[in-house]
Subunit: 234 residues, 2 copies
Amino acid sequence: MAEHEESRCENCIIRELNSLKALKKEELKAISDSKVSRSIKKGEALFKEGEKLGGVYCVRNGVSKLSKISDNGKDQIVKIASKGEVLGQRSMISEEGTNLSAVALNDMEVCFIPKDQITGRIQDNPAFTQAILKHMAHELKIADDFIVNMAQKTVNQRLAEVLLYLSTTFGTDEEGYLVLILSRADIADVVGTATELCIRTLAKFKKQGLIETKGKRIKILDQSGLEKLKDGFQ
Amino acid sequence: MAEHEESRCENCIIRELNSLKALKKEELKAISDSKVSRSIKKGEALFKEGEKLGGVYCVRNGVSKLSKISDNGKDQIVKIASKGEVLGQRSMISEEGTNLSAVALNDMEVCFIPKDQITGRIQDNPAFTQAILKHMAHELKIADDFIVNMAQKTVNQRLAEVLLYLSTTFGTDEEGYLVLILSRADIADVVGTATELCIRTLAKFKKQGLIETKGKRIKILDQSGLEKLKDGFQ
DNA sequence: CGTTGTATTGATTCATCTCAAAGGTGGTGG
DNA sequence: CCACCACCTTTGAGATGAATCAATACAACG
């Protein structure tokens, strides 16, 4: 019976990770009836910057990069979103086109939830609105910190920070390698530097015994070393 | 009679500029009864990063810089707030200490509104919550754009952008000089560079006929020239 | 009219970008 | 299983951008 399918929002554990947990059972059922599941292949775009979205995407599996192309043509990754994140939420609330592009870093499964389901709940469920508000306030803090980092820290510091972030956020496998595997170009786009410098800096970290690499994969050997680096003790 | 004092929130035009306009008359009266007016002298801090705030500040007059000190000791200005802005809102919502310091760039008049007045209205006035949410979504977009700019643009481009921003946001006087006068150090802290480079770049702009200076004051001569610069046409 | 803080300039060093080329890797079809 | 192609990584070297330190010039202010 539909009541117990795992594909129903009411039964989806993912929603515990985001603002949707503030919704009541009936509301979730309504959302579930109108949502559409979608598979996104690695490299495909969920949406591109400027696009008008008809709803939001709730990430069930996989990881997406949120990036924007600057006026001089280089891509900057602003955020990496994974399981539980709701994409397109911000642009829907401020009623604009999306500010960022979302591209899958590996194969993804997402649920598309039509706009009116979300705006409707924002209208009539204060607890939901407050949950989103709180989440967005937190995002804003992170963004402010990011600004300061980009503006004031060196590539060395930023790369160290990104490696630590990838480790704590996505974890490591049995061998100690970072689970989320990014191309050097993507890492560079997070750090905000040229791919070559990113590679050279990784090589330097390796020489210093801070990390180890195996193809694209990266293993952190000396976490506290990276932490010192990130805070500016060269 | 108190009903018609201009110091009453109900009669304060400032609130039209921010989320407080979503409040009802009775709610404004309650806020007005508990608010405290404060004068801040140029250079004084409204609050410092990490501080726990007992409420928010609504700016009635003057301008404040919101900045944060990075791990390597340099200050980065993240935002410039003026009339109508509510400061401390974000940290109150996410129930943390403030992430940024607020320092007056000129003499200010602010109203301090106790925390429970705001959180109370967020609890019981959905229109208010939605107004804040929408505002915060917009702030987040601005922050993301800022990240991309800091990460990908040169000092040249960023400085051009800041000058245009100061012009459109705070305007110019009869002679065409920017109304908001910042020290070179503050401009550098917005741009995210060293004061010397900021000065040198301003000198370059002057030589190119884009701007004119008179002491601290800056006059934009060629707006479209700056716009081209900002977009990377050197 | 000095004093203080800010603005300006020069010279040097360091960080980062860019272009160009060489080396790897994985996937695909024969 | 091998050969080939496309794509990604790595390295080199040179040009440019930006930070830094030190010294001088201004401007505001009492």
